[in-house]
């Protein structure tokens, strides 16, 4: 019985990551330089925060079309609520008579985010770095690209997720958040409002995915639709690289995690993660007893188990420590390596 082999985490020994300035900048590196995640590639100057004020906002003491404010000084009022400047910046009146408050331009350092070698520099805008990574596949993802620091929640309960977003992590703006085994619409909406760069999760319902897709939000699902746990190996690996700068590549259905070259070798021995470039992996194998499989059949959808025996059109699988076997029909399972 020929069955495809799914490999959730793959070593990618040669890949290219593009790092881009928000506005034109100045390079601190040259082609051929070796860089590490916190190496500065270059810098540029731009306003990094902007606050659009509501239409009923009444500014305090502004005569022209713009005025400078120091942090924590009073900008104006929205009805009876006082609005204070969150940072040093300029209040600007727009043509439609609405107001925006822009932070003063500050120096922004573009960090490498990866261990690798600068391969090319494109004008004053972007750099291409040759590196190595571990690529984790999403079963489903929106086709957007984003990057940011990875924050891993410890699979909290539904009640805690929103509270984690708002209080536990200090500022989720620009971060890629692994939110748990399952996520609901309300939590994803909140993450989007708070400016998260991406949300990754074990499973969700279709309304959550549709929301992310319609709003251009990077969103990835590891297991599928419904209420399905994240594969243990993925959760463990994400936890081990928490706070690393990672890349969400939705068009390729992968989360790309940069690693040191030497880390790949060590992990290969320990975790038996298949290397995409060293061996030519078999994409299909004959299923045999003892192999690890993922069931795609209710009520075991998404579960991992071990093949006990193989019949003509089905296999019998043991899940966890349960001694009983469950029949899973072909093609409702995949071999997992």
């Amino acid at each position: 019985m020929l069955v495809p082999v799914a490999r959730k985490i793959m070593d990618n020994r040669k890949c290219f990551i593009e790092r881009v300035f928000p506005v034109e900048g100045v390079w601190d590196v040259k082609i051929g330089d070796f860089v590490e995640p916190f190496s500065r590639l270059g810098s540029c100057v731009f306003s990094q925060n902007k606050m659009t004020l509501p239409s009923d906002f009444k500014p305090r003491d502004i005569k022209g079309t713009e005025k400078f404010f120091y942090v924590d000084t009073l900008l104006g009022n929205v009805k009876k609520e006082k609005i204070f400047a969150p940072y040093d910046g300029t209040l600007k009146k727009l043509e439609d008579k609405k107001y925006v408050y822009e932070e003063n331009p500050r120096k922004y350092f573009l960090l490498s985010g990866v261990w690798g070698t600068v391969k090319s520099l494109y004008g004053k805008s972007s750099a291409l770095i040759e590196t190595q990574s571990k690529d984790i596949s999403f079963t489903y993802s929106t086709e957007f690209h984003s990057s940011g620091e990875l924050v891993v929640f410890p699979n909290p309960s539904d009640i805690l997720k929103k509270s984690y977003l708002e209080n536990f992590v200090k500022g989720i703006k620009g971060k890629i958040i692994y939110i748990g085994n399952h996520v609901g619409l309300e939590v994803v909406k909140r993450a989007y409002e708070l400016g998260a760069s991406a949300v990754i999760v074990g499973s969700c319902h279709t309304d959550v995915f549709n929301f992310a897709n319609n709003n251009g939000f990077s969103f990835g699902v590891f297991s599928g639709f419904g209420n399905i746990r994240t594969p243990e190996e993925i959760y463990k690996y994400l936890s081990s690289v928490s706070y690393r700068y990672v890349f969400f590549e939705g068009a390729k259905n992968i989360l790309r995690i940069p690693v040191r070259e030497e880390d790949m070798k060590i992990l290969n021995k320990k975790e038996k993660i298949t290397d995409i470039n060293i061996i030519n992996p078999e994409y299909v194998k004959n299923v045999e007893p003892g192999m690890r499989v993922q069931a795609l059949q209710r009520p075991y959808f998404g579960w991992f188990g071990v093949v006990d025996r193989v019949s003509e059109f089905s296999i019998f699988v043991k899940f966890g420590s349960d001694e009983r076997t469950v029949e899973i029909r072909l093609p409702n399972f995949l071999i997992i390596e």
């Binding site: 020929l2 069955v3 495809p4 799914a6 490999r7 959730k8 985490i9 793959m10 990618n12 690529d135 984790i136 596949s137 999403f138 079963t139 489903y140 993802s141 969700c204 319902h205 279709t206 309304d207 959550v208 995915f209 549709n210 599928g224 639709f225 419904g226 209420n227 399905i228 390729k252 259905n253 992968i254 298949t274 995409i276 992996p281 078999e282 994409y283 299909v284 795609l296 059949q297 209710r298 009520p299 959808f301 059109f313 029909r329 072909l330 093609p331 409702n332 995949l334």
Partner: protein, 341 residues
């Protein structure tokens, strides 16, 4: 020289392998490439090339001494192997001769002059709910894991009914034709095979009599591809299909006299909105005299088939999927016939 033909569908791949001119083997690989499962390992081209090579090596066929032909819906994918001939399923169906092919998979209903496509997640009511892996999630997972088959009868019924909803109401098959039902939907090993025949009943639009064949190995597409490449390799394709039976759609109550020439004539009277299966298979054709308000009186001959003679007295436009009682009765009947086969 060996010949391997591959048909790439939306839920699986079917192969026709001819090691010699006389030897023909059909093989089904019930999986397809999806970016979500294999995107971090390989691309579609590498994956499918690897599968074809594996099928060849398992049969000790060497690549240089084998002609590779491909067909597929919506198109046959690119391979790293040199292919001699490649064609779209749509073109195979449009160029059909004699027997009428009806190609159904989880995305499309396709027959000569008619194509209705269906996206699993296009419905407004396809939003998720809070149920743990409810029906909506299950259908959504079919997009992520297109090879999977539903786990219960109601999910399969729901999926099939969504495909049939797309067939235009005015669409009719011409009475008296031989019709073969083919495509990925019939190659999948579903939990309740009797639902294949419910789907056929629902898709068989128009009143009249039809010789129905079931193709459970995508043989139609594979053999037509070979025919288009070299007609001498497959002179007759009808012999590769299972003759399911003689389907009679009357549009209302009917009477039928079955004369099998042995002297034990049978008279059957069927009220409207019923499905009735009369098991019959014989080398000597039986003569049927059918009388109904819509069809008038017609005399036909049939050899029956693995199911027999199937009477359907539903009014045109009535869906079997909307009538739970009739659906359950019909499923039971098909189940019993298949058990006795």
């Amino acid at each position: 020289m060996a010949l391997i033909t591959a048909h790439f569908d939306v839920s699986g791949i079917d192969f026709l392998i001819k090691k010699t001119k006389k030897n023909t083997e059909f093989f089904n690989f019930p999986y397809v490439y999806t970016k979500g499962i294999f995107g971090n390992q390989c691309d579609q081209k590498q994956f499918y090339s690897n599968i074809v090579e594996k099928v060849m090596s398992d049969r000790e066929i060497k690549n240089p001494s084998c002609d590779v032909l491909t067909c597929g819906f919506p198109d046959s994918p690119e391979l790293n192997l040199k292919t001699k001939y490649s064609v779209k399923t749509l073109d195979l169906i449009e160029s059909s001769e004699g027997i009428v092919p009806v190609f159904i998979n989880n995305k499309v209903f396709l027959t000569k002059g008619m194509m209705c496509s269906y996206e699993l997640d296009e419905d407004e009511d396809f939003l998720g709910n809070e149920n743990d892996l409810g029906e909506f999630d299950q259908i959504a997972n079919l997009n992520a894991y297109p090879q999977t088959t539903p786990d219960d009868l109601s999910s399969q019924v729901s999926l099939d009914s969504k495909i049939c909803e797309k067939i235009p109401e005015r669409f009719r098959f011409e009475s008296g034709r031989k019709i073969v039902f083919t495509g990925g939907r019939f190659t999948q090993k579903i939990l309740n095979p009797e639902l294949n025949y419910i789907l056929i009943l629902e898709a068989l639009r128009g009143l009249g009599v039809f010789n129905v064949y079931l193709d459970s190995s995508n043989a139609y597409s594979l053999l037509r591809t070979v025919q288009m490449y070299d007609r001498s390799l497959v002179p007759d394709i009808e012999s590769f299909f299972d003759t399911s039976g003689f389907f009679i759609r009357t549009g209302g109550s009917c009477e039928c006299l079955i004369n099998n020439g042995l002297g034990d004539d049978k008279f059957i009277e069927i009220e409207d909105n019923k499905v009735f299966i009369y098991p019959f298979r014989s080398d000597t054709p039986a003569r049927l005299s059918i009388k109904s308000r819509e069809l008038g009186t017609i005399d036909v001959h049939t050899n029956g088939g693995s199911l027999g003679i199937v009477f359907d007295t539903r009014a045109p436009g009535d869906s079997i999927y909307d009538d739970v009682k009739l659906l359950n009765e019909s499923v039971k009947q098909f189940e019993n016939v298949l058990k006795d086969r």
